[in-house]
Amino acid sequence: MTADSGIPMSKAEALDRVDGDETFLQELLNMYAAEHAEKTGAMENAIRAADFRAIRDLGHSLKGSSANLSLPRLQDAAFDMETAGLEKDLEGALKALNRLGHEYRRLKDFLGTP
């Protein structure tokens, strides 16, 4: 895993995980888009309610999805969210949420999706 690399996605690695099946990878990326939107929405609510357990769980879950698709920067941002939940750090959670949005926009640019 290239967690510290600058690119949003290690496409070769992701493709390798799905045996080179581009169509399947696209299906997973579409799922990820829905997942990202749903989870970040839930994170906003959890931050508003200072529900640290939910913050941790949502971060953990999005971290897993990101790792599966070799999205190191989104994985990092989700890990920050999970950590903020564990440490009961609302400011950290907000930062992680912004980062998740920013990194997702970068991913879309990288993939050339609207």
Binding site: M1, R17, V18, L28, S61, G64, S65, A67, N68, L69
Partner: protein, 319 residues
Amino acid sequence: MPDKIPNRTILVAEDDPISRRILEKKLKSWGYETILANDGRGAWEALQRPDVRLALLDWMMPEADGPEICRRIREGKKTNYTYILLLTARDQPQDIIVGLQAGADDYMIKPVNFLELKARLQTGQRIIDLEDKLLQTQAQLTELATKDGLTKLWNRTSIMKCLDEELIRARRTGSSLGLIMLDLDFFKKINDERGHQTGDKVLIRIAEILTKGVRPYDKIGRYGGDEMMIVLPDCDLGSVCLIAERLRRACAAEQIRANGKAIKVTISAGCASFDHLVRPTGDRMIQASDKALYRSKAAGRNRVSSFPVQKTRARRRTT
């Protein structure tokens, strides 16, 4: 393909839909039937199915996490073993010990290396296959230890145990319990004149007729030689005699074919019941039905007697 995995059902319990989808596709391509669950409750429900013997459980799931499911499965009474592989995050190595202590067989760190997963699942299958063989052998040994090899009726030890158990039940519930002792008339003659193989065939056929003629919860055992014993729960002496008479008629009506010849075989029976004896024990019930059987023999065979003597509708052949 030499490493093609035989069809197996595997549970994938994972709340992350992407991981779930990737695992589903991979496992199917390896020949597995997949059952998917997105939380602990769904996983627990799926694990109640007897065909689910392999499970991939995510550590963190809503409702109940992976270790919690492991603990419940290991504490439960599922007959067959379930091989559980826990999936955990890379940054939580402490989970591994907790997971294994909770009853997981193995663990893998996510994102999963699929070649490794395939190999580890094959290990799981080997364990399940070994357990299946062991259970099969155990069942065969139980059959050998409890059944009569020729007639497939209960053997003497088992039928005696059954009588003792039913006596305890009858005492506790205040219900009755009947016993029939029977043997084949002139069986020695069949063996002497037609050979032991014919005698064996006769015994097998009589055992079949008796089995067909009793209620599903009655127990029939081969007491020894051509003597058979039937334990009839919840049966008073009158009912025992009626059942014995029905069996006698069924046997007498049969033409048993052996070595191309038809043989007519009759039985004599003696009946006893729990509620007609003073301080009944298994031994006393056997003694009573034995006395009645002796009476049937003395009265000319092919008949049913009881101890004490019982007047029944089947009186003509009942003494």
